[in-house]
């Protein structure tokens, strides 16, 4: 009777752990499947023309995604330049001044909400403030939407990193007579440089592939344009439009664009993990 019980328990254990290993296999298989099809169909589309020619007219052969690549680079670049200082300064406030204040608690909660707010809702908001008011889709509006997504990421990583700095380091700097701003900027922030850079890079990785907030802010543009005040081509929206189209050439370009984005995002993720592996908390 006890042997039967033991046998049953052993079986339950085996089945449970077996299923758990199987789900791990499912996860890895999914990753492998997605990457394999992506690169198998995408890398063949990458050519010189892909990077130098603009999007082709419907149904025509050839062409590339140069306008979309440049548009994406410009919008992501502007977003990074704007959201990095804002995010870091807000993060410093939360960690250095607002650790126990009511304002800090509210801001922290709000950042968390923005962090997981649906990106399409952020697109709606930016449409209402920056597109409907001037009756013009624009690259600036697209950048604004991306900023609203990137800033919370930077704020939270900066704050979490600064919270890891031991209080004794701050106290030592204060004891030397340093003003508070210098302690923040050249002692604590400096100590967690790596983590903050990781936060910024991860924010970039997140916005590079964001499509939903750009659909009705930056819209898209079939021509080459570097004017941020007009509708601007960008990789995610072009991929979306081309993938949904019936034209084979467009679909091929969409695969190429998707592979390019995936490469960039994976590269950023891997680089941050390898470069900052041993830094505190920068997993």
């Amino acid at each position: 009777m006890t042997t039967a019980l033991y046998r049953r328990r052993r079986w339950v254990n085996r089945v449970g752990l077996g299923l758990s290993a199987a789900s791990m296999a499912v996860g890895l298989a999914a990753l492998a499947w997605i990457l394999w099809t992506l690169f198998a169909s995408g890398l063949s589309a990458l050519s010189w023309e892909f990077f130098t020619a603009s999007t082709p007219a419907p149904g025509s052969e050839g062409g590339g995604l140069a306008n979309a690549i440049v548009g994406s680079l410009m919008m992501v670049g502007v977003t990074t330049l704007v959201s990095t200082p804002i995010g870091i300064l807000a993060g410093i406030h939360l960690a250095e001044f607002g650790r126990h204040s009511k304002f800090g608690a509210v801001t922290r909660f709000v950042t968390d909400v923005m962090l997981s707010a649906p990106s399409i809702v952020i697109g709606l908001f930016v449409y209402a403030v920056a597109v409907a008011t001037v009756r013009q889709f624009s690259g600036w509006a697209g950048s604004l939407a991306l900023c609203l997504i990137a800033i919370p990421v930077v704020v939270r990583t900066t704050e979490n990193m600064l919270n890891l700095v031991p209080g004794s380091l701050r106290e030592a700097a204060f004891a030397l007579g340093m003003p508070r701003w210098r302690v923040s900027l050249s002692v604590t922030l400096r100590a967690v440089r790596g983590g903050v850079v990781t936060g910024v890079l991860l924010a970039v990785a997140r916005i590079v592939g964001e499509t939903a907030p750009l659909l009705f802010t930056a819209l898209s543009n079939q021509f080459f344009s570097t004017d941020m005040a007009r509708p601007m081509a960008n990789l995610p929206v072009v991929i979306y439009q081309f993938a949904m189209s019936p034209y084979e050439n467009w679909q091929k370009l969409a695969w190429g664009g998707a592979a390019l984005i995936a490469l960039v995002v994976l590269a950023i993720n891997v680089v941050t993990r390898v470069a900052f592996r041993d830094r505190a908390g920068a997993r």
């Binding site: 449970g16 752990l17 758990s20 996860g27 804002i86 807000a90 399409i120 009705f216």
Partner: protein, 332 residues
């Protein structure tokens, strides 16, 4: 050579002056530091407040833009089962139903798999493999959602249509009725599941790691199997954190746009079968917004966005509250 009293007192005076000017300079510097500090604090406060205003702005803008639609349709907007831009009839039920159903399917699939992954990573995985496998799962979380959608439409849906779908239809269940289209609510749910697995699995792994080894070891000491330790020690100890992780995944699934828009089928019909094409809030917005008529269509879409925002906000607030109360309880 006699040193006059005046000279002495004069020199003392000079020394005192020097002292005083040094003290003055010092005081000035302290004052300057204090000023700089106040300025610095003000600047950082300004940016933190800016972030705060962002959210308030989102809510105000959504409500303001949605108001015309809500005023026209009233409660019918929330309970209307017809969404027809050409007739000017806007009811949110179809989209809300699509959002809830796809997210529900996603959670049903993703939660057990994420749990399995977390158990594998914390209990059975050989130590040297832990880090690379954990990273691989996290990479899955980094893949942009448009790529999930693209892959779902062109690779996953055809395979699903030919293999799993006919088999599920043959079971005769009403929720699996209808032709095997490949795309539809169920496919969207599966692609979503794949998207949220890494999020839920990472949270679960992190909370599983907070279980004190002593607890697990004492259970092992009593002769428990690994599975029993997970079921009766790890899971009860981390229950709240696990639920919080699931809610975070749910929040993500509810608001996801691109992965769903590609594969949901984009039909404004109220589906009774999971295999029927439908629409979620996010996919309706993505499909219709750019070409919408500003009179009533756009306000209606804003109202939909508001509904989505409220739903995700509620889920997130619940998750935060659960995780926070779990963290304070884990303190003992």
């Amino acid at each position: 050579m006699a040193v006059t009293a005046e000279a002495v007192s004069g020199r003392a005076h000079e020394a005192g002056d020097a002292e005083r000017t040094r003290a003055d300079r010092f005081a000035a510097r302290v004052r300057r530091f204090a000023l700089q500090d106040r300025l610095f604090q003000g600047v950082t406060f300004f940016f933190a407040a800016l972030v705060l205003c962002g959210l308030a702005g989102i809510i105000v803008a959504l409500v303001a833009e949605a108001l015309p639609a809500l005023r026209t349709a009233g409660a019918d907007f929330f309970f209307g089962t017809r969404w027809s831009p050409t007739d000017g009839v806007f009811g949110a039920v179809i989209s809300v139903h699509g959002t809830l159903v796809t997210s529900g399917v996603a959670l049903l699939v993703a939660v057990p798999i994420s749990f399995g992954i977390a158990v594998f990573l914390t209990e059975t995985c050989p130590a040297p493999l832990r880090r690379p496998l954990g990273t691989a799962i996290e990479l899955l979380a980094g893949v942009p959602s448009i790529i999930y959608g693209f892959w779902g439409l062109f690779v996953f849906a055809p395979v699903f249509q030919e293999t799993v779908q006919p088999w599920l239809i043959a079971t005769g269940l009403p929720i699996f009725a209808g032709p095997p289209l490949g795309i539809g609510l169920f496919t969207a749910g599966l692609v979503l599941a794949l998207m949220v697995i890494p999020f839920i699995a990472s949270v679960m792994r992190d909370v599983f790691e907070t279980v004190p080894p002593v607890l697990k070891e004492s259970a092992y000491g009593l002769g428990c199997t690994t599975w029993e330790v997970v079921r009766h020690v790890v899971l009860p100890y981390t229950r709240v954190g696990v639920i919080g992780g699931v809610m975070l995944g749910l929040g993500r699934a509810l608001g996801e746009t691109m992965a769903v828009t590609f594969v949901i089928g984009n039909a404004n019909r109220l589906a009774t079968s999971l295999f029927a094409p439908g629409n979620s809030i996010a996919s309706t917005l993505a499909n219709e917004f750019a070409e919408a008529d500003p009179a009533l269509h756009i306000p209606s879409l804003f109202a939909l966005g508001l509904v989505l925002f409220v739903i995700t906000f509620a889920v997130l607030a619940a998750a935060k509250w659960l995780i926070a109360s779990g963290a304070s309880r884990a303190g003992y």
